[in-house]
């Protein structure tokens, strides 16, 4: 089975065709199977991220035919093209630089450890949001995140991106849903969402989560409602 893999190294980019040898006649491999086999055979220094092979760690996201997929749990077929996700700066082959997203949350996570009674049940929506594996698939087509790069801007990820994304909104909405947060903490989380560019969500078609979290219903709309339409 032939697939295309985009290689980026030391400033040079090219696409190679890799012929995957099926391990069973009826095998329908995952993207990660192909990458692991390529590394074990023809391209030993192929750079890609993975961790758990089971859709839990969230680091293996790549684009397949231009759409973000978790490599360990998405099938690949003849002729598909694997490339680094295009929403973040490339580092090597399929590896992109992720840390600009988390960095923007520094100082924005109001601590919940303020002597409150810990023994309170969190609402179901809170638990729905802890399903997020931080795969960044939701950065695709997010106009808020795209603002970081408009007009050829080249932001420094080490300082954290200025504009937010569905993931950073999700982290803030978790603070708002946490029964242990104070009212001031909730207001602060909302203010951070607005700083990060929540306004962009008002006329956006909406975001999509790589693991199926209802981002519009459980993150974006509640934040917009709180901010006042």
């Amino acid at each position: 089975m032939k697939v295309e893999i985009e290689l980026n190294r030391d400033g040079e980019s090219n696409v190679i065709e890799y012929d995957y040898a099926r391990r069973a006649a009826d095998e329908k491999p995952m993207i990660l199977d192909v990458l692991l086999q390529a590394q074990a055979t023809d391209i030993p220094d192929l750079a890609f991220r993975y961790g758990c092979r089971a859709r839990n760690c969230g680091v293996c996201t790549v684009d397949v035919n231009g759409r973000p997929r978790l490599a360990c749990r998405a099938r690949i077929k003849e002729g598909d093209r694997v490339s680094p996700v295009k929403t973040l700066p490339p580092l090597a082959d399929l590896v992109v630089r992720r840390d600009g997203v988390a960095r923007q949350m520094r100082g924005r996570l109001t601590s919940v450890a303020q002597g409150n009674n810990l023994n309170q049940d969190a609402p179901d929506d809170y638990h729905a949001l802890t399903a997020c594996v931080e795969c960044y698939a939701c950065l695709q087509n997010c106009p808020m995140h795209a603002r970081n790069f408009t007009d050829g801007a080249n932001p420094n990820p080490s300082e954290g991106y200025q504009w937010g994304n569905p993931f950073s909104l999700l982290k803030l909405q978790m603070l708002r849903l946490d029964p242990l947060s104070s009212d001031a903490g909730r207001d602060q989380a909302l203010a951070h969402a607005e700083d990060l560019g929540l306004d962009a969500c008002r006329d956006c078609k909406g975001c999509k989560c790589g693991v199926g979290i209802d981002l519009m219903g459980k993150v974006v709309r509640p934040l917009l409602e709180a901010a006042g339409e």
Binding site: N56, C57, C72, A92, R97, R98
Partner: protein
């Protein structure tokens, strides 16, 4: 072009951002230290994040769950190898350690009657009490808490995509070694970072990648914790004690190694069969992980294994009974939700529904051995439990990186507690050490390791590290994996030597940003070092005990004088191994323990041969007691009663 080196100063450097690293960082920052967390995976991405998310919380189900009971439980289960100071520390802190995650946003369901987190309905593998707590979204929920702990700031800086390569030491008071910092490869920044710091906490996880793809853990478990410590001259303890989970997927390949069940989830009537259908282990739910793994690997060694090198976990007996069968399926689905998701995805429908047996094979999961430390995670050397004033000054370890807590066997759900207990202890102790540090840190102590590392970028060679790594993984599985023999252990030495000799022939391009070849090279270097330590310890332990299964030898008697293995790397790179004595459990206690175990197994064996109708009715009652009625309402289970400990106490 040579790779640049940047210099920084901190009080405490923490290697790893799993549970142990995150909790260590927060504890050190609370004491006013300037802390740097270094993580090769993105922050929070770790075994902690991908775990089943069950944690031990003492007294969560009953007030009389004493420190003594838990400490003794760990010692006995660990074959008397655990260090008492360390199990005592675990038992003491295990009531509140979980709250440190809660302070970072972890929100368990609450038992409002007891005003504490809600306990799981059953006792976990090997526990003599019900004292575990589960979480919606299992380990991923812990991942969020750890991420919050590190990313928030408040005294903690961090680097992700950054490989901690080695600690840097100098000597004081004559020739005692002490930490003065470390060297880091910042892959996304494309530079080396030399950190001057008087304390380093190693929380970099385990070594299961030595057996890839026969593992359910994160790719990053390349033994970095042990290799870094060993190269610095620290001692490692119980390194032969690798825990293999018996019930992992053998095929299809995309799922190879992933967890599908535990002894307890096999439930009352689960048995193991060889390829001819013969029962090779009954009463599976009463067995330890090691016993199940050993039964499977013995069948494989005798040529009675399944096509993919395993055996068959047959749970059809649970499923077919008309009244209790449906309960069993609900039990299977809920007791290890992550594992059952793997089974459903990997197996065909009838197999996943337990209408047919599951082909399973052991997988590397956890390393009980590790850095030899005291109850605050400080490096120790010497006889018995060791002494801190003989260890590497300023070196600490926590979580899977440390040894001495579990000995020969780790009980279920204890590791997520271990990371918090010893992460915080190490964080506080490292911080105090840093504040008390009086010496001056000389930059020339860093010169050799910087020069050696810079020299690797642009190294000419003919082989790829990834290729050598695969060879090592395959050989390690066959020789120091879940089934060992004297010959196999002896054979791995020359293989490691040959692979080590090829390190200088690994081709590494010169570019600095995310140099995959360099990363593979470093991880191979650590895997080789770790394999040496495991082989040395395994060679010394000349019969089976816990995670160390010798096919050519029997079990070490529980009445024998217990000892731990301690390994130490010499300057020439070879490993010396010796035994340190461990205190023996009093005879009366041992006999009681043995009698209880035999009685349990006798009861469950006998139960299997009852008429189906009788079995069915008795099982229905049992399941109702642990999981509630069909309407879903959980029946109240008396905390600490037999009902509460389905997998441990005698069958109906």
């Amino acid at each position: 072009m040579t790779i640049e080196t940047e210099w920084r100063n901190y009080d405490v450097v923490v290697v790893g951002s799993g549970g142990a690293g995150s909790m260590a960082a927060r504890a050190a920052a609370e004491e006013g230290s300037r802390v740097l967390v270094v993580s090769k995976d993105p922050i929070g991405c770790s075994d902690t994040k991908i775990s089943e998310g069950n944690a031990t919380v003492r007294q969560v189900a009953a007030d009389d769950d004493s420190e003594e009971a838990l400490s003794e439980n760990l010692c006995m289960a660990g074959g008397n190898l655990p260090v008492k100071d360390i199990t005592d520390a675990f038992a003491k802190d295990s009531k509140t350690a979980f709250d440190r995650f809660r302070a970072q946003g972890l929100r368990p369901a609450i038992d409002h009657k007891r005003n504490n987190p809600k306990a799981t309905p059953m006792a976990f593998g090997g526990h003599n009490r019900r004292r575990s707590v589960g979480l919606p979204n299992h380990g991923i929920a812990f991942g969020h808490a750890n991420w919050n702990a590190v990313v928030q700031g408040n005294g903690v800086d961090y680097l992700e995509d950054a490989w901690f390569l080695d600690v840097v030491t100098d000597t004081f008071d004559g020739d005692r070694a002490r930490i003065v910092g470390g060297l880091i490869y910042d892959a996304s920044g494309g530079k080396l970072i030399a950190v001057r710091a008087p304390a380093v906490i190693i929380a970099a996880g385990g070594l299961s990648t030595l057996f890839f793809p026969k593992t359910d853990t994160m790719r990053g478990n390349t033994g970095d914790s042990y290799a870094i410590a060993a190269r610095a001259g620290a001692e490692l303890v119980d390194m032969e004690q690798c825990q293999f989970l018996p019930f992992c997927i053998a095929s299809p390949p995309s799922y190879e190694g992933l967890l599908v069940g535990e002894p307890a989830s096999a439930s009352f009537l689960g048995v193991l069969r060889d390829k001819n259908g013969k029962v090779i282990l009954d009463s599976v739910y009463q067995r330890t992980r090691a016993e199940c793994s050993a039964a499977i690997m013995r069948a494989v060694a005798d040529g009675r294994g399944s096509p993919n090198g395993g055996a068959y976990l047959d749970m059809t007996g649970n499923k077919v009974l008309p009244r209790s069968g449906p309960y069993f399926m609900r039990y299977l689905e809920t007791c290890l939700p992550g594992a059952y998701v793997n089974a459903r995805q990997a197996f065909s429908k009838p197999v996943a529904k337990c209408e047919e047996p599951w082909e399973v094979r052991p997988s590397a999961h956890y390393h009980m051995g590790g850095l030899r430390v005291d109850a605050v995670g400080a490096s120790v050397k010497g006889e018995g439990a060791g002494a801190r004033n003989l260890g590497i000054d300023g070196l600490f370890a926590a979580g899977q990186a440390m040894g001495g807590l579990f000995g020969a066997n780790r009980l279920g759900s204890t590791s997520l507690t271990e990371v918090s207990v010893f992460g915080s202890r190490a964080g506080h102790a490292a911080s105090q050490h840093a504040h008390a540090f009086k010496g001056t840190i000389e930059d020339n102590a860093f010169a050799p390791v910087i020069a050696a590392t810079v020299g690797r970028f642009g190294q000419a060679g003919t082989v790829a590290a990834a290729t050598l790594k695969q060879k090592l993984q395959k050989e390690a599985w066959d020789t120091i994996g879940p089934a060992r023999t004297g010959d196999g252990i002896a054979a791995i030495g020359p293989i490691i030597d040959a692979l080590t000799a090829r390190l200088d022939d690994v081709a590494i391009p010169a570019y600095a940003t995310w140099n995959q070849s360099f990363i593979e090279f470093e991880e191979l270097r650590n895997l080789l070092e770790t394999a040496r330590a495991v082989a040395a310890a395994a060679g010394e332990r000349d019969a089976s005990l816990g995670g160390h299964v010798r096919l050519d030898r029997g079990d070490i008697s529980i009445f024998a004088e217990p000892y731990s293995t301690v390994v130490h790397r010499g300057v020439d790179g070879s490993y010396a191994v010796r035994r340190v004595a461990r205190p023996k459990t009093p005879l009366k206690q041992l006999l009681a323990y043995k009698a209880e175990e035999s009685w349990r197994q006798f009861q469950s064996k006998w139960f299997r041969f009852l008429p189906d109708a009788v079995k069915d009715r008795k099982l229905e009652t049992r399941y109702q007691a642990i999981m509630g009625t069909p309407s879903g309402a959980a029946r109240e289970v008396e905390p600490g009663s037999d009902d509460a400990a389905v997998a441990e106490k005698r069958a109906a």
